[in-house]
Symmetry: C2
Subunit: 220 residues, 2 copies
């Protein structure tokens, strides 16, 4: 297994190429940290972008969420061309000039054809990876899916073949002439999402405390 | 001004229609809370999704970020068909069954044609709205853009005409037969991004403290 994804026409980028990379581990880390992704596809020649949940298993990305009937039909019939993008915002970059304001971020873009997962065993493993990816430890403390539930769930698979990561880090870069302006400049770091106090379901049976996989949930 | 966006073929939705709404204020609130959006467009018949920054001014959405030369050319020449999606994840919904796991979220989807802003005054106002939208108070404490910087900055405008919001809130909904299972069920709320300690630029002049718009930054 190579350590990098190949650079293609679609992943070569046109601006700030110095921020682009194709490192497999870096791509995987961003996919694994994010709770959700945005999936783009084309319907009637026009773009559609919807939030979905995802789980990475090796070099496969599993997607779960609604796409509409027509996109799903395409996914069944040869594959749905998609662009899956995951963005983590790490900080606000405040320069002395409005022009040099920026964002510190890590963004992964994956191109490819998403295909519907039909094999029940693969689908079950993918759904388990989805639950586990979002709440590690959870899948051992739930009722697993019935065959009817499995059939009612749509999972798409996208092979990680054409993927890139774009990263900006570090302080603002102001023009030399602006360095002595009397304005504060720097980075305001933003935290990954933090969990609040777990809210038990109103119909939760008495005596069931929130388990560690809930109370100790962290991300990033 | 009507209080709702019209329901169209593209915004009617196919699943969980009870979660869909078209209320202008609700759409605006999500757009205003989010720091970034995902912009989808079509290149060579295939989808591209990129993160961008956005600012809403009335019923206009201004977009700032790279799209590549070809998409920009389309934006100049009659408008670039785009789908702009903003997703805020509010919580993890943990059911007793794997099948009923979900996410509490607010997602806005806007369809339309994005056009390049060429009028320098409109562009300047849009860029100010972008800075102000992300860091309220900031635009009064920066050097504003020169005409050369304005010319070097791309801003697209998307009229909010075809927009919808999809929201899930509340506890998990388990099947009756699962209610007595010995598994914890409930919602783990996720906070909006929180600011950490401001990191002054290494080349910041001595004696400039972080202003209130930095130290008191909050979101959501």
């Amino acid at each position: 297994m190579t350590q990098s994804y190949p650079t293609t026409v679609r992943t070569a980028g046109t601006r700030h190429r110095e921020r682009l990379a194709y490192d497999r581990n870096a791509v995987h880390a961003v996919l694994d940290e994010a709770v959700h992704c945005h999936v783009g596809f084309v319907v009637d020649g026009e773009p559609v972008v919807l939030p979905q949940l995802h789980a990475r298993v090796g070099d496969d990305l599993y997607l779960h969420g609604s796409t509409g009937a027509r996109a799903l039909r395409a996914a069944r019939d040869g594959g749905l061309p998609v662009c899956v993008t995951v963005t983590l915002v790490d900080g606000l970059v405040l320069a002395r000039s409005a022009f040099h304001h920026s964002i510190n971020y890590r963004a992964v873009v994956v191109h490819g054809r998403a295909e519907e997962v039909t094999d029940p065993e693969v689908k079950q493993a993918a759904l388990q990876a989805l639950v586990e990816g979002i709440v590690p430890g959870r899948s051992a403390e739930v009722r697993g899916p019935t065959s009817k539930e499995l059939a009612a769930t749509t999972v798409l698979r996208l092979a990680l073949v054409e993927a890139s990561i774009k990263v900006r880090t570090g302080p603002p870069v102001d023009d030399d002439a602006d360095l002595t302006l009397p304005y504060w400049a720097g980075v305001l770091p933003l935290s990954p999402p933090k969990a609040g106090t777990p809210q038990p379901a109103p119909d939760l049976s008495a005596g069931i405390a929130a388990p560690a996989h809930v109370t100790a949930w962290t991300r990033g």
